[in-house]
Amino acid sequence: MTTWIHAAIEAIKNQRVEHAHYSHAVARVFNAVAVAKPGEVVVVVGPSRVGKSSAVAEAIRLAARPTLEMPKSTPTVWVEGENASTDGKFSTKMFMWECCKSIAHPIYGVRSDDDPFGYRLEARIPRTTEGALRSAFEYALVNQSTKYLVIDEAHHVAYSGTRGNSAVAILDSWKCLAQKTGVVLVLVGAYQLLDIMTLSPHLLGRQRPIEFPPYYEDDAIERRAFQQLLKTYSQLLRFEEPDQSLMSWTNYIMEGSFGCLGHLSLWLRATLGELLASDGTAFSLDALRHSQLPANQAHAIAAEMQRGARSLASALEGIDSTPTPLKKAGSRRPFQRATKRFPLDGRA
């Protein structure tokens, strides 16, 4: 009886669902990348789990495919901006190492045959300076005639350093790297990326942000597009009533999945998992409610999306929404007491 559930989980996991926003985002990114000159920057932002990375990957694949003029596909490098340093900080050196790994640098990126566990490679990195890793990456980019450099999860630069402007400095250095090596830099990240970029006028002048938005409830067209998406998923499921489908609960699902395909996919899979655990046989609204995100988490995600949408709108409408630095640089020396004005009455 539960075989359809297993099949549905596998299908939801692996099936690439075409939908309106996705196709639109792919087209926009493809055109932006195609018209970009070497050294320019393309920024793709959107809420978490909306499908940015997939859309950019497809757009870049289309842009880099072989043509009659260029029989070989254009070399592309895809790097993930991982905050893998101590305490979840973003380390520029580790990022450069990731870059070298992505480009399969023969010295710093790939372990040799007689070093199967990569011990020697890992031992080499602490002895190598960040500048050397960066130079190695730059030489490799030029050597391989790389055209597109994609940095996914670029908003993780916000976790770098303790000073407020270090994230901006890193973005600027990436811009310089793109200019120096003649690649088109594609930054993919959450809305937070826009806030950081606002502090870097040099970078702003070289890019146009492309948004991959979620589906909004209050827009009739988007609502219909989302229903199409639900219809696709409904074909994989079995409901209690024959006339039931996911479209029956459109409002509830749009609200719970924030209009994002990634959230919807995860929610449906979680519900199917719960059905398996409770020996359920059919998909129902109760099962959906049972596996919904906790209210506080849902509220946090919604707030982040609203803040991002507001930031993007202000950026596009020209409103000065320059955020304050993430942390004010300290003006006092260590162990120096903060100045304090004592009230007149409190004096001894």
């Binding site: 023969p106 045959d113 190598t128 050397a132 730059e138 030489y139």
Partner: protein
């Protein structure tokens, strides 16, 4: 193994081909890594053997025809994904099976021509070291006739000791100045064998995988000796190459250095390549023909040590035959030949900042060349005054060949030698049969190379006198230094008396120096002399 990025060999297939040490350095820079990490990546299993190559000094050895060079070349070609033959012209592996050993003929430090560096930078080409520059026998750049450098002109230091990993090759690692400007005067002699070396490197570059035969030089020499014995003209041959050397080089497994091969090729007028390949039969035959009028054009310096009493008669016969042949010959080339090539000259100079000295040195070299001497080497000693160690003088003594002429700028350049050093110099001059020449004192141009008895007697007598004067000067100077009896160093000037008075009055050394307006060192010396009585 992960493939390294490909980098074409600079100057591939030409005589300007790059040295392997330079190529390794550029490959390391392309991968933004150090040489040691690159070598570790290339051959981790035999890292111990590669460890010596981790620095530039060690890396200079990789062009030598050794198994280590072969291993490095194979590993590098494998890592880049090219054939070994493509990289092999960057080394001297062509000498792998040849006894003409070049291991000692490779410069320990990389050498370069600043003008070539400048041209490469201007043309936007990669800056690299040429293979031919790394041969010790190559004294100057064959393109610009500029003296090759192995130290920075600006700071005088070895430029690659503290070099940054990614800095260009034409930047000094100590003072970070560009090395593509010649700031010192270039007084490099134009050695005819430089072109032979350039041709040799060009041959290696154009024929990857070429190997010189084991018995190339010995085949030529044994042919020569056989012909000479058959025709009874050994003396003629021994005038060019000493008899002991002839017999030694004629052995099949004789070890012949590149330097010796060059000397043989120069003295016998055989192309170096032909000599190494053992194919100079035609040339040697004409050399042994005593009655050939062209022999006068091939006149080489006389090695007097090889002359034995029983050979005197044959030498006189040969001399008379040559003289009569020269008289009979009416062609201008024959009559002009002896003056166009008088002999091999090695000049010992003391480098000085004085422009007067430089002009004089220029003048000496020019007049020597005009007189018909072939200047085979210029040995410049820096700060030669009282210094015991004179590397250039030692090099001159080592490199002198029988029949050469050693020219010293003045005898004063040798006066401060210790008596033991002077004895050694004179002994080696006598042993090798090298003639001494001092411009303005003994000029050899007038009677050098003449085979008549009077000229030889004058030459011998002049040499004896000169060597005795040299020994006497050095000993006298040494005695004067030890005993303080030298007239020019007597401390009886008014200044010295004033210093003694001031010191007697109880003034300190520094105060005395201030009062007498001299250096504290002089005060100390004068006061010490006064106390010694």
């Amino acid at each position: 193994m992960n493939r390294l990025y490909f980098l074409p060999v600079a100057g591939h297939g030409t005589e300007d081909v790059e040295a392997l040490s330079s190529y390794v350095m550029r490959i390391a820079a392309l991968h933004a890594t150090s040489i040691s990490i690159l070598l570790e990546h290339l051959q981790p299993q035999s890292l111990r053997s590669f460890r010596t190559l981790g620095s530039w000094r060690g890396l200079g050895a990789c062009i030598r025809p050794k198994s280590l060079s072969s291993a490095l070349l194979g590993a590098l070609a494998d890592a880049i994904g090219v054939e070994v033959e493509e990289l092999e012209p960057t080394t001297l592996l062509a000498f792998e099976s040849c006894p003409a050993s070049v291991n000692d003929e490779c410069s320990a430090n990389p050498r370069w021509c600043p003008t070539c560096f400048r041209d490469q930078s201007k043309a936007g080409q990669p800056v690299y070291f040429k293979l031919v520059w790394q041969l010790r026998q190559t004294t100057s750049c064959h393109l610009h006739k500029v003296r090759l450098r192995d130290r920075c002109d600006k700071c005088g230091q070895f430029p690659y000791r503290r070099r940054r990993m990614l800095s260009p090759l034409d930047q000094c690692g100590n003072c970070h100045q560009s090395m593509n400007e010649a700031s010192l005067p270039d007084l490099s002699p134009e050695h005819p064998m430089d072109n032979q070396l350039v041709g040799l490197v060009g041959h290696i570059a154009r024929n990857p995988g070429v190997r010189f035969p084991v018995s190339g030089v010995s085949a030529v020499m044994s042919n020569l000796v056989d012909e000479a014995v058959t025709t009874g003209t050994e003396e003629g041959l021994y005038r060019f190459v000493r008899r002991d050397d002839c017999l030694h080089f004629a052995e099949t497994n004789a070890s012949v250095s590149l330097n010796a091969t060059l000397q043989i090729a120069f003295r016998l007028r055989i192309p170096l390549l032909s000599l190494l390949e053992g194919d100079a039969t035609g040339t040697t035959r004409s050399l042994l023909c005593l009655h050939d009028g062209r022999r006068a054009a091939l006149l080489a310096p006389i090695d007097r040590r090889c002359r034995k009493p029983e050979d005197e008669r044959r030498v006189r016969d040969w001399s008379s035959q040559r003289s009569s042949a020269a008289e009979r010959s009416s062609t201008p080339s024959n009559s002009a030949s002896p003056s166009t090539h008088l002999g091999v000259l090695r000049v010992y100079l003391r480098v000085s900042a004085s422009s007067h000295d430089l002009v004089r040195q220029h003048e000496i070299l020019r007049s020597a060349r005009d007189a018909g001497w072939h200047v085979a080497g210029v040995y410049r000693e820096t700060a030669a005054g009282e210094r015991e160690c004179r590397p250039e003088l030692s090099r001159l003594i080592d490199e002198m060949m029988p029949g050469d002429v050693a020219m010293f700028e003045t005898l004063s350049r040798l006066r401060s030698l210790k008596s033991q050093e002077a004895d050694r110099l004179v002994a080696s001059l006598r042993e090798k049969g090298v003639l001494l020449s001092v411009p303005g004192v003994i000029e050899l141009s007038d009677f050098f190379g003449r085979a008549d008895e009077i000229s030889m007697l004058i030459q011998d007598a002049a040499q004896k006198v000169l060597l005795r004067v040299l020994l006497w000067e050095c000993r006298h100077d040494s005695i004067a230094r030890c005993g303080g009896r030298r007239a020019s160093r007597r401390s009886s000037t008014p200044l010295h008396e004033m210093i003694v008075e001031l010191r007697n009055a109880g003034n300190s050394i520094s105060r005395t120096a201030r009062e007498a307006q001299c250096s504290p060192a002089l005060v100390k010396r004068v006061w010490a002399d006064h106390l010694d009585g």
